[in-house]
Symmetry: C2
Subunit: 201 residues, 2 copies
Amino acid sequence: MKIPSKHIENAVDQIASLPGIGRKTALRLVLNLLNRSQEEVHDFSEAFLTMKSNVKKCISCGNISDLEKCSICQDDKRDQTIICIVEDIRDVIAIEETQSYKGIYHVLNGIISPMDGIGPSDLNIQHLLERIPNSGVKEIIFALSATMEGDTTNFFLYKKLKEFDLEFSSLSRGVSIGSELQYADEVTLSRSIINRQPFEY
Amino acid sequence: MKIPSKHIENAVDQIASLPGIGRKTALRLVLNLLNRSQEEVHDFSEAFLTMKSNVKKCISCGNISDLEKCSICQDDKRDQTIICIVEDIRDVIAIEETQSYKGIYHVLNGIISPMDGIGPSDLNIQHLLERIPNSGVKEIIFALSATMEGDTTNFFLYKKLKEFDLEFSSLSRGVSIGSELQYADEVTLSRSIINRQPFEY
């Protein structure tokens, strides 16, 4: 795709560097920006610089925050004795949306994945081990993806954490609510039979 | 979706203001940017400002250009007697990719669409009427979308241009190459029978 302006070409390259965006889509987005006023384009550009300069990682849990400590860690109403371990801040947002969890989090910022060259030292694990002693934490919830990488990471963390006096749990797995049995994959269906729950009525 | 940082929220809002990008996708893209270095984020932001400040519209055809006149209008090897009228610069790029057209263009920058409040005066039409007299142009190709809006625009332009001594043509319509007959829509199939071509062998 030959674009008749090197400035537009450069903007397209930048947008297309984002994951999941191809050059045709990028061109459509860039032309939308080009039709905006100078001020709007300025606001657009400024948003990313301001974000990069100002967003911090919470010194306690690794969640994103505008302050030293994130709003969840600072909240007195949250149960500081339960830590839910997640891969990414998007998982924090997803769990918060459910309004079903009142404990705190620890964001690993990734998952152990030898295929991608990501080892334990690349993740926010050391700080997890440091924050647990004398913190009053009683339970760890593993909320990583149900993949080989997630299981590997869970096991690695469990080995490191078992010396502390903690309970361990993980998210329940089973057939999605609202979905039909026949479309569930075998492993999920098998797991949902083995881990069947008392009938609620 | 509650995002625990107003700076990230702002960046997400900006990305989600682009057409076809929802807030979940926007968050994924913004977090990708957040994980880049300060310098990379700076380059990302700068690309849009530089583009907005430097990209011009060709004074002759309305195509985007880094100079006063676009590279196509400046090219002596192009046939300056044929003008292909298109809606958008993306159409110029698409036609250029085919390497089948050696004439020049006129970019309307939109299409007459009363539903969206776009009338002839919002488009690059006046300049088209001004560039034709004494230019040596002999043929006009209408290459707008095959929609009601496209047809309306073609008809409007034809009425304005018929006083000049010009030939008019439009893109041929028919069954796509490589696609099966049974999947072509009725109107296209009907048009491709009426406009059947001499068999080439």
